[in-house]
């Protein structure tokens, strides 16, 4: 694997995580629990789509075959998407979306803090913009965890169930593939493994402050970053890619 191939792959992973999470959040549009939260979730979705656009645009440049961000986002088959499985989990109920956002945002907070120091200036620039957004996503989901966890018996139960159900998809975020090892060596990427302890500490703090128990299960599901997805992914793509597949080159 050349440095260029590894960077392309690395950018696709980062970009796909943002793209798929954006899609899931956008499913809340017009379905939020209150108008204010509807806007909050779709605002976060827009932050993600902006980040995905930047990362996929840069991935296309690095690959050098003239692929645009749109082509990468809407024309690849399922096994060529490299997002973590947690991103493609269905939006579920509001507690599920909040738990998912906390688990992802805590990871992204650590990841993008590191990527701000990437030797690749473009990636460092994208990270510098992303980190401000991520801080807000993290704060927003943390505050909602407090409210749901310490709210009613039902809201606590729903949040606990969501955390239990999502837990086995969190470990994948800290895996290191061959492309990530190479990116780490080149001081472009970040050591995911090194983030895990800090992540766990931060997540544990928020959840215990929300009266939520940390799941003890240690089994982890993975495969997303190798292109092996859950059954959810095909459904996402059939909806997300429909327009570009039906009307190739369609523009706004």
């Amino acid at each position: 694997m050349t440095k260029q191939e590894a960077l392309y792959q690395y950018l696709l992973q980062l970009g796909d995580n943002a793209l798929i999470q954006s899609h899931r959040l956008s499913e809340w549009c017009s379905k939020g629990p209150i108008l204010e939260e509807d806007l909050a979730l779709t605002n976060i979705a827009l932050d993600y789509i902006g980040r995905a656009q930047n990362l996929l645009h840069y991935a296309g440049e690095v690959e050098g075959k003239g692929q645009s961000a749109d082509q990468l986002a809407y024309r690849r088959p399922e096994h060529q998407y490299y997002n973590n499985l947690i991103a493609e989990m269905p939006k579920g109920d509001f507690a599920f979306t909040i738990a998912k956002q906390l688990l992802i945002s805590t990871y992204e907070l650590l990841l993008y803090t590191e990527l701000c120091h990437s030797k690749d200036e473009t990636l460092a620039g994208i990270a510098g913009k992303a980190i401000k957004e991520v801080r807000y996503h993290w704060t927003h989901s943390r505050d909602w965890c407090y409210r749901l966890g310490k709210g009613t018996v039902l809201s606590n139960e729903l949040l606990q169930q969501a955390v239990n159900d999502l837990w086995m998809y969190t470990g994948e975020q800290f895996e290191m593939g061959a492309e990530e090892e190479l990116m780490l060596k080149e001081v472009i990427g970040c050591d995911n493994k090194a983030l895990q302890n800090k992540w766990l500490e931060m997540v544990e703090t928020v959840l215990s402050d929300s009266n939520i128990k940390i799941p003890t299960a240690t089994y982890n599901q993975s495969g997303g970053r190798k292109g092996i997805h859950t059954e959810n992914m095909g459904h996402i793509l059939s909806e997300m890619q429909y327009l570009q597949r039906a009307y190739p080159e369609a523009i706004w």
Binding site: I34, L35, E36, E37, L39, N43, T139, D143
Partner: protein
């Protein structure tokens, strides 16, 4: 009008740039001050309108009564001399 069941109402004030006054932007629903600030941020500063936000529980806003309008406001109708229009604006002063 049906009863508002969506959490408490908060009034939102936005400062558009450092040093300038806060302007009433609208209102949001929220259960606490942090949620009110975040909701205000998401609704009223999406297009770069603000550098700072105040939120105030709407129940703490005291409003004047419409029937007091005559007593409150009419007496200032004919006091032209209160308008600072007889002064020369200092050169470069923008915030007066």
């Amino acid at each position: 009008m049906s009863t508002d069941t969506q959490l408490d109402l908060w009034e939102v004030f936005i400062q558009s740039r450092p040093g300038s006054h806060y302007t009433h932007a609208g209102s949001v629903h929220a259960s606490d001050n942090q949620m009110a600030l975040q909701n205000a941020r998401d609704i009223y500063t999406r297009r770069n309108e603000g550098t700072s936000i105040w939120v105030v529980p709407a129940k703490y806003v005291s409003a004047s009564n419409a029937e007091d309008a005559g007593m409150f406001f009419d007496p200032s109708n004919d006091k032209m001399y209160r308008h600072p229009t007889f002064y020369v604006m200092p050169e470069g002063a923008k915030q007066i």
